[in-house]
Symmetry: D3
Subunit: 128 residues, 6 copies
Amino acid sequence: MDKSALQKGRDYAAQNLAPNLEEILGERYDGLVPDMSESLIEWAYGRHYCREGLDAKTRQLCTIAALTVLGGHTAPQLKINIEHSLRSGASKKEIAETIWQMAVYGGLPAAINGLNTAKEVFEAQETQ
Amino acid sequence: MDKSALQKGRDYAAQNLAPNLEEILGERYDGLVPDMSESLIEWAYGRHYCREGLDAKTRQLCTIAALTVLGGHTAPQLKINIEHSLRSGASKKEIAETIWQMAVYGGLPAAINGLNTAKEVFEAQETQ
Amino acid sequence: MDKSALQKGRDYAAQNLAPNLEEILGERYDGLVPDMSESLIEWAYGRHYCREGLDAKTRQLCTIAALTVLGGHTAPQLKINIEHSLRSGASKKEIAETIWQMAVYGGLPAAINGLNTAKEVFEAQETQ
Amino acid sequence: MDKSALQKGRDYAAQNLAPNLEEILGERYDGLVPDMSESLIEWAYGRHYCREGLDAKTRQLCTIAALTVLGGHTAPQLKINIEHSLRSGASKKEIAETIWQMAVYGGLPAAINGLNTAKEVFEAQETQ
Amino acid sequence: MDKSALQKGRDYAAQNLAPNLEEILGERYDGLVPDMSESLIEWAYGRHYCREGLDAKTRQLCTIAALTVLGGHTAPQLKINIEHSLRSGASKKEIAETIWQMAVYGGLPAAINGLNTAKEVFEAQETQ
Amino acid sequence: MDKSALQKGRDYAAQNLAPNLEEILGERYDGLVPDMSESLIEWAYGRHYCREGLDAKTRQLCTIAALTVLGGHTAPQLKINIEHSLRSGASKKEIAETIWQMAVYGGLPAAINGLNTAKEVFEAQETQ
């Protein structure tokens, strides 16, 4: 029998992100929105990141492109996805290039804010 | 001596897009905005697409991700960049996967509108 | 055993929208994006609209508010959701009031474009 | 004689929000933008919230939906409107459900940022 | 006694735009949203365009800048405001320059879509 | 021979902004994105601000309009451009009027956030 999307998402998160991601989300959000953690794992990881047809690294860089042009209100998600991109094998250079290219499509402010977020993540990792 | 950004952009456009792209833009826009065509070639192609550090295909897929989440008002640009993506070696599958993943970040309407645009481009090519 | 989110979404769509919605989506999108129809039904209807804690009509009006401020690129989705709102028991007046209030938050252009879309839907229904 | 929109807005604010809202706004903004406070009261409350055809609670939840999808730059306004929504009779559950549903239309980052703002407001109230 | 904002808006529209603007808006929208025409005239013209401190032409060019970066979904409003800008004394050149500068802040797609809208308005006027 | 866009941008920045702007940008960003500083100076100042056809002050006010409606994620850029606007001869009143007018097009939250940013800049200057 095929695995459900929820199970696929759980497997993807355990292998690629953090084994306890659903638990962390659940502690933070499920009291307010029942099943939010389960729902997010199923949708984002079970229905998207685990799909075939596009490799994980390119998926991550596309996410970074999108979060950059969506503007600084997505800075928290951009940070997390820069970390996920490094883990998926993208280099700092590839991440920076992806963000800077967005100056063409989303304008300079979005690209500069994105670079500032990337610098913050890279510098935090270096001081660890 | 280093090539200027303008020259790099012209070389990139000639090799990868259309040899007369600057001319087409010039005829359409330079009467209204002097040097618009030159400026666009320099900035988009000479300062971005010809850069090192990220391959052409990934650059194109990131562009598609960005144009998808920016919403349907960028449909004309999304169309052009789907064509450019195919030319850069991306498969239809990779393009469709990129667009659909944006449902997570930009919402379902943006992703569905993006898929509709992709279908239009793919179907137009098949009937050629 | 609890119903899966996918099953809940299918039941919701069958009872409240169109019995063949998944099929229609599948014919249009699954060739390009495998399982897109299933995924949309699961996420939008199984994970959101069928939730407890907020009645269907209010959910629909909130959707209309969101699609209005997101701008005209969501006009196709706004149309569909105006129809769904009427079906959920919202009156034309409530729908129009929801859209117009968005002038405060998303600006006049978004609200006026939203009213134009609503007029189109209402007039199409009257001439049926 | 009909009340002017300005008078209606003043009455609405006095009854439903804060009796001195116009004064607070005036002290903050009128030095920079003469009559800003009067203008805001007239437009937002006299021309929108006091309208017939949609109850106050639904109006507030629609506002929350809009502010959520508009992104985190509206976090200050989202906070204020979560407070206004509670005062209009909406439950925490209804507010959280409204925000989470926006994941479908505005994407996960907007919804998660919205939930974070709601948690902040709810927690601040509990510690009072 | 001071004129009300509504009266100021009516005077501004009559002198600078069209004497029957409120009537046109009323015929189109007031059936759906009672007093929408009055409300729009009061807010946009009585509370904004008639203000002191910034000349009409600069106000109009700022509006064009905003509508350009907000994206193509505001094309109908951009058209109307290009016409209003010409009437307020702005040249075609100033309008085109304003739109093109937005490539820096809103990205190339928004600027190109804006130029396309301007070309359409200018060409329609030339063929009259 | 015509000056290159890069040279024009450098001259513009030296005369109107800060003589060492490219250096500051370079120290911050060029390690991550080679030539970012050069590219930004060329595009923003050499290809846009130094253009003929629209005076510097109006260009700046249009930039403020755009950054206001793009939302609070552009607050850092709005701050810088309010300073540039004052330097280009715009008064505080003109800047505040430009921002407030955006309530019509981008909604009240964007305008209020913009006014808050302006107040911050003006107050910081007064305490110097």
